[in-house]
């Protein structure tokens, strides 16, 4: 199995760390992974993205022009990456930042209103995990177990108490996502 994923949104939305957690989860399950960010002076607004590949075999190019899955969190990201999803692929979007709804018939399109949900939960920090939960629901690139391991591995010890909350958010995301 090999999944080629792009995650894209505003610089501040945490798209890069979302990708990192995903990649780390793959690593925890002994898969091959690559994570490739857009980089530069992103702190100043603008759109950031990262490509994550999770595969059972050696990964050749970390640079892609077509994706199995795109997670888009604002309009420019949608405009840019929707056309690059392979037929039969998956598009996940958060409607919060989207003005014109996606419109391809040869792919699976899912909506996840994670921004609103995170605001509702009064915890902006779990936004990431909600989105990831949604992804794992519609395409179990990695297991939730791998994800949990990744959190234990990457978070500094003093934040480990937050992990149950995060895993709960994953569950929320799984419940929240819906075919658009």
């Amino acid at each position: 199995m090999k999944k080629e994923i792009i995650i894209s949104g505003f610089g501040g939305q945490g798209v890069l760390s979302m990708g990192k957690i995903l990649a780390y989860s793959g690593l925890m399950e002994d898969k091959e992974v690559t994570w490739m960010p857009s980089y530069g002076p992103e702190q100043r607004g603008g759109t950031a993205n990262c490509t994550v590949i999770v595969s059972d075999e050696r990964i050749s190019s970390p640079i892609l022009s077509r994706y199995d899955i795109a997670i888009v969190l604002n309009q420019p990201s949608l405009d840019r990456f929707m056309p690059l999803i392979k037929p039969g692929g998956i598009l996940i979007y958060d409607s919060y930042g989207i003005l014109n709804k996606p419109s391809r018939s040869d792919i699976h399109i899912y909506q996840i209103d994670a921004m609103d949900k995170a605001a509702e939960l009064k915890n902006a920090k779990v936004f990431n995990m909600i989105v990831l939960g949604g992804l794992l629901k519609v395409c179990p690139v990695v297991s939730t177990d791998g994800l949990k391991k990744a959190l234990y591995k990457t978070l500094p010890e003093r934040h480990h108490e937050m992990i149950p909350l995060n895993m709960k958010a994953v569950q929320v995301g799984m419940d929240l996502i819906e075919e658009a």
Binding site: K20, E32, I63, L64
Partner: protein, 361 residues
Amino acid sequence: MNNEVTLLKGNEAIAYAAIRCGADAFFGYPITPQSEIIETLSLLKPWETTGMVVVQAESEVASINMVYGGAGAGKRVFTTSSSPGVALMQEGISFMAGSEIPGVIVNVQRGGPGLGTIQPSQSDYFQATRGGGNGDYNVIVLAPNSVQEMADFMDLAFTLAFRYRNPAMILSDGVIGQMMEKVVLPEQKPRRTEEQIRKECPWATIGRTKDRQPNILTSLELKPEIMEARNIHLQEKYATIREKEVRYETINCEDADYLIVAFGSAARISEKSMEIARGKGEKVGLFRPITLWPFPERQLAEIAKGKKGILVAEINAGQMVEDVRLAINGAVPVEHFGRLGGIVPDPQEIVEALETKMMRK
């Protein structure tokens, strides 16, 4: 700290691997896309563990001259930068070559010329392999194509540098520097003791003991006869390195009709292009020089025999293609494909280039 499997950026891998391979010092100046190297080192504060020194220098000019000083004193010392910063180091690198100083330079390339762009590029191939500084000299150039190789080449670069008393460079780029991949970090090696350094580096300037003549590191010599002898010594050393230290990788070259020659991140991308082409039934192989200098010229010439064509895929306007042409010497058609300005080609483009430039024309 044993071998550790983890997920790191190429830049971070450089920092971790440097500490673990017993590096004695880093001197460098921040520049995108490689500032994570000095940042990671600053965070890990190896001066409290292995005793490694980390200094943010006032410029790349200072950095490379600190490397000169530190490596000249027998220590494993390196600097890292990106393209324009490395341009500033050319005088220093030339001095190191002339004085035979085994320092290591990492260039995480971005697009040029000038300030250019912070996006990835491979357009410093000439600067690295032809010696951007003055005089006849060569730098050993290693081109990693994965985060693992970023880590592995750190120790290798030091080893080669000290084996030949010659500067060695890791020529990476923004793709390899910024991407994360699984990496197995080497075990922590101890830094060498004074005794070991005295033994391994009898030339090092660490205080002249009574039992030897003063050690003098200089690239200057005003007597032409002596200077020519020193230059000939360098050229002979380079010939030895050419003989012994060529490294390359071949994938599916045996039955191939066409070869892609590519290094570093372009090789990763080309590997996928090769897969795509093979999927279409075209017999394509990949030849990846790992040492850009010494360039695997004999090896490539050998493998290229009887092929229908060679496509050199680089993220530049055509640089390594010259070395390929020099190696092939007209025996097989050689074409170039490249993207510029920070655009990283995708695998499909290279397939198309193969088709239009080599197969269909």
